[in-house]
């Protein structure tokens, strides 16, 4: 492929990511999971400190339990894999910014394999419950879970237009 064609394919790939909350019961290829984890590992972090671990959950019963705790991660119930981020960052802004970067990349790695994904958040008691369920040490902060599976349907939501979001040179 020409350089232009490669760039086009990659941009189309980035443009094509959509959140998926409904998954089929089909298992995901182990190669896809391996790639998601490797792409996660190579994600950039503030000052390259990589102050997070991830917990990869594939057990049905655990995915179901996690889907029930307080928050917005009910889509874990139907996911084939749940990836939970355990953050040890002590600078909250950097830690959560880095979680956003990491979540985006895991979703893109799933999308590279034609899989769907969605970001869920645990809230309040849900954060405590998720830590207990997964045996995550008390000093870690748990907030984000990513559901992955084969999409049963897509949520193709409307986005704002460019002139609602982009300014040139000055606001």
């Amino acid at each position: 492929m020409s350089e232009d064609a490669v760039a086009r394919e990659r941009i189309d790939f980035l443009r094509g990511l959509r959140a998926t909350r409904d998954f089929t019961p089909e298992p995901i290829p182990s190669r896809a999971l391996q790639d998601m984890i490797e792409v996660a590992r190579l994600t950039g972090t503030a000052s390259n400190r990589q102050l997070w671990d991830i917990v990869v959950v594939t057990e049905r019963a655990m995915l179901h339990q996690l889907s029930q705790v307080e928050g917005s991660a009910s889509h874990l119930a139907a996911a084939q894999v749940g990836i939970v981020i355990a953050n040890s960052g002590t600078r909250p802004q950097q830690a959560i910014f880095d979680e956003g970067r990491l979540a985006e990349r895991i979703m893109l790695a799933a999308h590279a394999h034609g899989l769907g994904s969605s970001i869920g958040w645990f809230r309040d008691s849900g954060r405590v419950a998720a830590k207990i369920l997964l045996g995550i040490p008390d000093d870690r902060f748990v907030r984000t879970a990513i559901s992955v599976g084969r999409a049963a349907s897509e949520h193709g939501r409307r986005r704002k237009s460019l002139d609602q979001l982009v300014h040139y040179e000055r606001f």
Copy 2:
């Protein structure tokens, strides 16, 4: 290409992103900038609210001024484009998580075109100064700037190994 080959190309693309802080004086193609902005527009956000604007800065003098304010965005001085995020999110955790997602995607869109990029943060007085320089309204929160240009050198930094970061089923 086969489905496998497409997945491989995409995963290699995601794996290949590195932070670049030194840029050549070569201008970047307008098509690349257009794609970065479009990929930004399509970035997912909490509840699809898209509570940010971006300011695209290409003027040399402005890039230099922004590079001088308090923070860690000195690499803007040599960038061909600086993209500053003006956030209007009132839920700080969601807002900064979304900034992380957005920054990662803008960097990947630059990378799709063979360009380098880096994330810079304004701090304390630097946030005020950046808002004044760019005419960003007072009610917006400004923290993140992304530098883009052709890489003069790469910072290929070491990452932790998988067993330092990844747990299966339980922490």
